[in-house]
Amino acid sequence: MNALIVSPLLIPLATLVATLLVRRSPRAVRTISLAGALALTAAGLVLVGLAAQGQILASQAGGWAAPYGITLVVDRLSAAMVAITGIVGAATIVFAMARDEDPARCRDFHPLVHGLLVGVCGAFITGDVFNLYVWFEVLLVGSFALLVLGGGKRRLSGTVVYVVLNLVATMMFLLAAGMLYGASGSLNMALLAQAFAADEVPATAHAAVVLMLTAFSIKAALFPVFGWLPASYHVAWTPVSALFAGLLTKVGVYALIRLVTLFWPDAGIAHEVLLWVACATMLIGVLGAAAQVEVRRILSFHIVSQVGYMILGLAIATPLALAGAVFYLIHHIVVKANLFFIGGIAARLTGSERLAAMGGLYARAPWLALLFAIPALSLAGIPPLSGFWAKFVLVKASLDASAWIAAAVALVTGIFTLLSMSKIWNEAFLKPHPGGAGGEGGGGLRSADGLQPALWAVGTLAAMTVAIGLAAGPVMDYAVAAAEQLAAPAAYIDAVVRAGGN
């Protein structure tokens, strides 16, 4: 049992070491890397299977009982996040196999991706505040190196912005963790939740949690502290920015959901603030996207606005709203990573990612147009795709909670998202390519040779989006059950306390 709980950490870590050992052979690196990501997916799915039965797995590192050992906990939400991390990781690795002509980049890319996955999975399964900080740092180090991978002025400049702002955020987190320990004498989330529930903590502990949530808000790119995201995501190599788009902000969202549901399970002033922040995030994000003229920049701003939806679910805090947030997380990670992938393929075919210099894809590459349409419409919330159900549940939860403004903002944001997606559609797909009729692929386009792995990755994720949309029932049942666990932290606390040491 313990081996299964730590497997989301051990598998990427072992893969990282293995890829370093065989780094002279790019083929071996790719094979091991893919195998590692698939193994992580399998482990995640096994965890989902166990968690779906309603049990909360908990383990104490080193065999020390709760306040002393570092607790690892896997409940429904954590298990789902680990599984989806494995899937997006595998898709990224497959995508990166497409016509990779830079052996040095391939050699460095794969170990770093697994380093990032260790940090992401660790953040999802830890039950200890300081340990969460350490996992944040692990994924941060991996993301720094991945972002700058390939070099060049533009990429380096984006990395500087990303590095400085993320360092400040992690320092806030560290300070908050120290304050929380000073005020409450514990860093174990379950024990802290107990103390918060019994009202045994001084006011400084609440202040520390507020500071911590601010740090997570920077990580999750909430209004008004999202500035680093659209300033840096568009400079990275395509697979890297897709991986970031899918996973990184969602770690911040996960941490927000976890801490708020544990420490402040009843709706209070924090939820009210989060509600307004969520509304502002949705609107500002989508309006920012409207001003952009490059594919990845548009998509970057949409990450911001989509994160607002998840926080909306957290802020309303009814079980239905939380279920909506969980469903949104699952759906969004797949869709957003896929859109970045497709943007990358489109840029490879048209020779640019500026909308003005793109075009002609619908005529020459209708398969890509279809693959784009699925996640794009899903993002905007068109039935029967996955985004529709996610938005439907969140809007319904807002209406049930009489949060009329939030519901209105969510709907308006959906319309603007659709406008934004149709902008990409018109510019990149419908209009003729400005370069004329030349090019290997005809119509001014370049050849699609060597892109097959990328198409496999994109096709699989698109199929998942359709599957989540068509089979929304089971996924929503799982999300509702996960939300019930979140809304009643007693079981979580109980599982941690019961998992004593040896």
């Binding site: 720094f144 002025k153 533009r154 380096l156 590095v163 120290g178």
Partner: protein
């Protein structure tokens, strides 16, 4: 003692933030380090400062004059991580210097905001 440490933390954080508002990127990175040290000191002070006895818990209970060793362990971890990140930031800074000849925050933002470069014409490696 706690007062003195608190004031030091406040001063370090203030200096750190002031440096981070500077136009020069080197100062910004150094500001991050100063801020980080302020934060480390704050975490350290969470475990009482007047530790004059080793923090060994015996059957008689915890010694009265011992400081809590946990924040000390946390700070050690944070220092190591912070050092690694600082080194990375310096490496990025050095490379920026090599590419641009100067490192100013405005320049960095301007370069990152440049329109995406088009792929080179066909025939070359993309």
């Amino acid at each position: 003692m706690e007062i003195l440490v608190s004031l030091t933390v406040g001063a370090l954080v203030a200096i750190g933030i002031w440096m981070m508002l500077d136009r020069g990127l080197l100062r910004v990175v150094l500001g991050v380090v100063v801020l980080g040290n302020g934060v480390n000191l704050a975490v350290f002070s969470a475990g009482r400062l007047d530790g004059r006895a080793a923090a060994f818990v015996t059957e008689a209970g915890a010694p009265a004059l011992a400081a809590n060793p946990l924040p000390q362990a946390l700070v050690l971890t944070a220092i190591v991580i912070g050092f690694a990140l600082f080194v990375f930031a310096l490496a990025v800074l050095k490379r920026s210097w090599e590419l641009h000849g100067k490192v100013e925050t405005d320049l960095v933002t301007a370069v990152a905001e440049e329109p995406a470069p088009d792929l080179p014409p066909q025939g070359d490696k993309a």
